[in-house]
């Protein structure tokens, strides 16, 4: 089976990040979800062995219990290990339907389980992944004008709320400004080169950046 990721330009942006950060002396680990054929479906198979309550299966409860017992499936353990060791998580993807593609949403659904990423009162600023930074880097199909307050797509920040606030902030992860390449497939070769150069340039001073103030005001002001 031969699987290619949906958008070629995301490959270039990934490559740039790996090269630039490696050059800086960072240790970079890539989870290429398509290449890994990463499973996006949250099912009973994520728990090895017996269930906590096999009468009424509840994914949240079962993965939490399995995490504590060390009984999560191997692919999840592997991804959690990468997250645990990381200072910065960069999510690189093409925007699909105002959101991340299902394969990446599945990574969020399955990897960030209770006990690992958050716990009872350990959410938002108290989340379990407080020592980490995140950055959503993505390409869109349409122009920046569309994703504005006056555009039919609305402010691009509306799209970022569930990802940045609902997932990363929820787990305590700090969020750097998103990096958005608007409609790279509709622009000139020169403009595309500029986009790639801008990403390289930003990465050079990334570690000096301050996280955004992840409050409703940032998104809906």
């Amino acid at each position: 089976m031969h699987i290619k990721s949906p958008s070629p330009s995301n490959g270039s942006l990934l490559k740039i990040a790996v090269e630039e950060l490696t050059k800086q002396g960072c240790s970079v680990t890539v989870s290429d979800l398509y290449a890994m054929q990463f499973e996006p479906r949250a099912t009973r198979n994520d728990i090895v062995g017996h269930l906590h309550n096999s009468e009424a299966f509840n994914y949240g409860v079962e993965t939490w219990e399995a995490y504590k017992r060390g009984c999560l499936s191997e692919d999840l353990v592997e991804e959690q290990k990468k997250v645990r060791e990381a200072d910065l998580l960069i999510f690189q993807f093409p925007l699909f339907w105002f959101n991340m593609p299902a394969i990446l949403k599945g990574w969020m659904d399955r990897v960030l389980v209770q006990g690992f990423a958050y716990d009872f009162s350990k959410i938002y600023d108290g989340g379990l992944l407080q020592d980490k930074l995140s950055l959503f880097s993505f390409t869109t199909g349409v122009s920046q004008e569309i994703y504005s307050k006056e555009g039919i797509g609305g402010d691009i920040r509306y799209v970022l709320w569930p990802m940045q606030h609902g997932i990363m902030h929820f787990c305590g992860v700090k969020v750097l400004e998103p990096h958005i390449c608007y409609a790279p497939e509709n622009v000139s070769e020169e403009k595309r080169k500029e986009m790639l150069a801008a990403w390289t340039q930003r990465l050079k001073t990334l570690w000096k950046e301050e996280p955004i103030n992840c409050s409703p005001e940032w998104y809906f002001k």
Copy 2:
């Protein structure tokens, strides 16, 4: 392999909808994505036979071309047939990370391809699925107070923007008020029964409802 859907209460809500709508004389078709082991990953495998451009794989372009040639994979053709025949699409799911679970996001990513659900200037009110209604019915893990303007989760409508506006409205599908069961697992058995009864009750007059005004004002007022 035995796969169960993540939340039991969504099963009850689905069952109620099927029973009530069938009783009304509607012909009801269910796509139980977990039971179908629905594939959420958007890959080259969604195109049967040769690619339009095998040098630089672009999922959007390839599925659009494959749709026109009648070369989409069988599972997608099957789902598109169901959508084509439907007057109303009800999406029943547990909210995962401020969004639908990956398996349902994958349904959106793979089924609603260009040519079928929208086309060049045929988007939003001009979308290709204008004759249809949709309804997002979901359960949450936390209470209604959390999902309010003052709550840490923000207004629940912020969460609805990418789904209702970014997907359904984009394809021309009209949107009925969402149906939300807040934290069914944290409430009393009696309150749960009330929730189920409220859903049954709403379904009785569903066809008389007017779609919401799917504009930024509805979401961010």
